[in-house]
């Protein structure tokens, strides 16, 4: 269901036809055009609500921090842009990883709605390892905590894979259920009097985890380490993109995964163990999502409270990120950037209340995100309109 539908070329090669080839071949232009259309549609919504779309959008764009790349920025503005860009990239990191968790499953014909739960489990275990074992060498501690997050995510998602392989249970149900189970288990372990609640005497009443040890914190290479500067997790996420691509396109495992995703019967007939693939693929997805959780924790959050676990939506955006990126590596990267930009750009912090009221801004964000995703869901929209025109022309000819 992830494969974009085929469309045929018009007989006479026009500009539109050339564009259509592009859409089918590279698929780069279509998403870009569609994002533009989505923003224009969003602009109408802004207008409808009595605000100035151009001001709103330029405020949002400033808020993403992408204007940091503009050479003409003043020094003051550059400082702010840098802070914003750091935030955008910090959010990009888990979005890439939870996106990959969805994308990889999709390529094997599985729909992993469970990125959320896998992310949370990753958070739980990495905060546990990260806050224990104080005194380890930093590198070892970081690697251990990251591995804990990845492994636990893998195991969690592996349950869904295993149930699918052994009992044929639909992974959509199991991952939804596992999400909620992860949430409640997560809330429980950090709750008052529970095993992983912090042991700081000043915080006995607070349902929050221990802070992770200094030795487990990821180095920050841009910005203030304490004020959520940009940590090296972004590079790990980028590396994960490469791993994803290589795994999928250059390994026998990826070959099997794609074969199973496209045609499980043919895969089985040619000797591929389909069930083993389901388990393995889900586990790898879980590892991606769990890594996302671990990096968030070790890079900038440092602790997790029970209400974080209940309210986090980042992992959920992973679904949209993956689908928008058509389950490819480069697509996931670009759409993760887009979503992260939207999230920081529309955060109240960046949206001047004289441009847009804060209470409304949050909801406007959802609307714009929804519109972007909706319009992107059909990057054949342009093609569709084109076809319509052609059909009319054809009718005009026959009439």
């Amino acid at each position: 269901m992830s494969v974009p539908p085929e469309d045929e070329l018009p007989a006479n090669i026009t500009v539109a036809a050339r564009m259509a080839t592009f859409f089918r071949g590279g698929g780069v232009i279509a998403p870009i055009v569609t994002v533009l259309v989505a923003f224009i549609a969003g602009g109408f919504v802004v207008l409808l609500t009595g605000h100035n779309p151009i001001e709103t959008y330029s405020a949002i764009f400033k808020g993403t921090g992408f204007n940091w790349f503009f050479p003409w920025l003043s020094e003051d503005d550059r400082i702010i842009a840098a802070l914003n860009l750091q935030q955008t990239l910090i959010i990009t990191t888990p979005l890439i990883l939870t996106g990959l968790a969805v994308a990889f499953a999709f390529r094997c014909g599985l729909f992993n709605i469970g990125g959320q739960g896998q992310y949370i489990v990753g958070v739980i275990f990495s905060v546990w390892v990260g806050s224990s074992f104080d005194g380890l060498p930093a590198f070892v501690h970081i690697v251990l905590a990251i591995l804990a997050g990845m492994l636990s995510g893998a195991v969690w998602a592996g349950i869904a894979g295993l149930l699918k392989a052994l009992a044929g249970t639909n992974e959509v149900i199991t991952t939804i259920m596992l999400n909620w189970i992860a949430i409640w288990v997560g809330v429980w372990v950090f709750n008052l009097g529970s095993p992983l609640q912090n042991d700081n005497p000043a915080q006995v009443d607070v349902p929050v985890s221990n802070d992770i040890a200094a030795s487990a914190k990821l180095p920050v290479f841009w910005g203030d380490p304490q004020l959520q500067g940009l940590h090296i997790g972004i590079f790990i996420a980028l590396a994960a993109l490469v791993v994803f691509w290589v795994l999928l396109n250059r390994t026998t495992l990826g070959y099997e995964v794609r074969a199973v995703g496209f045609n499980p019967d043919a895969a089985e007939a040619s000797g591929i163990n389909v069930r083993r693939n389901y388990v393995l693929v889900m586990a790898i997805c879980g590892a991606f999502a769990g890594l996302g959780g671990a990096l968030d924790l070790l890079g900038w959050q440092f602790r997790v409270a029970t209400n974080d676990i209940q309210t986090t939506k980042l992992a959920f955006f992973g679904i949209a990120v993956a689908l928008l990126g058509r389950n490819t590596a480069i697509g996931t990267l670009l759409s993760a950037l887009l979503f992260a930009g939207l999230i920081t750009g529309t955060s109240v912090r960046n949206l001047d209340p004289t441009v847009f009221e804060p209470q409304l801004a949050t909801n406007l964000t959802y609307m714009i995100q929804g519109l972007v995703v909706l319009l992107i869901s059909t990057d054949v929209l342009v093609v569709y309109l084109m076809r319509l025109r052609r059909k009319r022309r054809a009718q005009a000819v026959t009439a």
Partner: protein, 386 residues
């Protein structure tokens, strides 16, 4: 004695092992529980040996669950048991928890039986919740409020159909988009319209239906005082079944979901059928949302559907895209939720953990009893281009 019968008997025995230990029977001897549970597991083993593997394993799991639950019950105080296991109250609460899910699952059933994946149920529900409240407030009539909610859901359904059917978009993506949009639209309007104080306290409400059956032992407590929408939900299950499996329109709708090209060559209009199905889907899901806002809680809060659309989707798959089975799934889930709310009596420190109960129950049930559920053949696939 077929293995199948023994297997089902085993499942029943497993439940019985738990049931005897709680009110009204409240057997205090662990031995009874253990004997029943062991019998259940033995029956399960027999069924496995007789080739009924899934059923046999279900009986064994039921035995284990019965053993654990029943044994725990024999060890806990009678007073606590009497507080937790009040079947009448549990039954009524189960129905209340299940109602939005029933509407959602039936909505999903319409859409998915016609071949359109509807992951936007959550959004459609939320639309129903807000527009139900707003509509009822504006018109001072719960009937009009309900109708407005249904209309809002149907409009959202039409939007889904526009993208999923006409534009042939990826249906999961467009559904996800609808969920985001719904949060945005309802949140925005809520803040604009109701601002700080929220919906007014005189919001028109869907009335409860009082039946003069107080004297009936258990049924009186469960069914004596239920919201009209609860009854409508139960009725909708029946109507949906008749529609889907007994009317020409249902046959056409299902054929569009199984083999759209075949439907088209049989002279049907698959596009129109799917529009109808997805819009109905939106309307039904919206009724689930309206139950929350003007049926049960008499207020609207942002994102108040809190993931129920996804649970409804799970119940639909669990129920193998069949109305009756989906109802069973929602009831199981509702029962788990109702029970979870009461279990903290036993262990306050485990209170949070009990919240996971309905999800764990669903996971066990779907794996044990249902296993592979085969979706409509053309689910997610647009009509091939001509």
């Amino acid at each position: 004695m077929t293995a199948k019968r023994v297997g089902w008997a085993g499942v029943a025995l497993g439940f019985l092992a738990f049931f005897v230990a709680v009110p009204p029977l409240t057997v205090r001897s662990p031995l009874v529980v253990i004997v029943l549970a062991v019998l259940a597991m033995a029956a399960g083993s027999y069924a496995i040996a007789g080739g009924e593997r899934r059923l046999g394993w279900s009986a064994i799991v039921a035995g284990l669950v019965g053993l654990a639950g029943g044994y725990a019950a024999t060890q806990s105080g009678v007073a606590n048991l009497d507080r937790v296991v009040v079947w009448g109250a549990l039954g009524a609460a189960t129905l209340r928890y299940a109602t939005p899910l029933i509407f959602g699952a039936l909505g999903g059933l319409f859409s998915e039986r016609s071949g359109v994946i509807n992951i936007g149920l959550e959004g459609m529900m939320l639309m129903g919740a807000f527009f139900g409240a707003w509509g009822a407030d504006l018109t001072s009539s719960w009937i009009l409020g309900l109708l407005i909610a249904i209309a809002a859901g149907a409009v959202f359904g039409a939007l889904h159909a526009l993208f999923a059917v006409t534009f042939r978009a990826d249906q999961i993506v467009s559904g996800t988009a609808l969920n985001l949009l719904a949060v945005g639209i309802t949140g925005y309007l809520f803040v604009e319209v109701y601002g700080d104080l929220g919906t007014p306290d005189d919001l028109p409400q869907v009335p409860n239906v009082s039946l003069p059956i107080d004297w009936l032992p258990l049924l009186g407590d469960v069914f004596g005082e239920l919201n009209l929408l609860v009854w409508l939900a139960l009725g909708a299950v029946l109507v949906t079944w008749v529609f889907m499996f007994r009317t020409p329109m249902g046959l056409r709708l299902r054929s569009a979901g199984e083999n759209p090209l075949a439907a088209e060559t049989a002279g049907l209009n698959v596009v129109r059928t799917r529009y109808f199905a997805v819009m109905t889907s939106g309307g039904l899901a919206a009724m689930g949302g309206a139950f929350l806002s003007i049926g049960f809680l008499h207020t609207f809060t942002q994102e108040m559907t809190a993931g129920r659309g996804f649970i409804a989707l799970a119940a639909l798959i669990f129920g193998r895209w069949r109305p009756g089975l989906a109802l069973t799934a929602t009831l199981l889930f509702g029962f788990g939720s109702a029970l979870a709310g009461r279990l903290p009596v036993f262990s306050p420190s485990g209170a949070v953990l009990f919240q996971a109960l309905p999800y764990v129950l669903t996971l066990i049930a779907v794996t044990g009893l249902i296993g592979r559920s085969i979706p409509p053949l053309a689910l997610g696939r647009p009509l091939p281009r001509s």
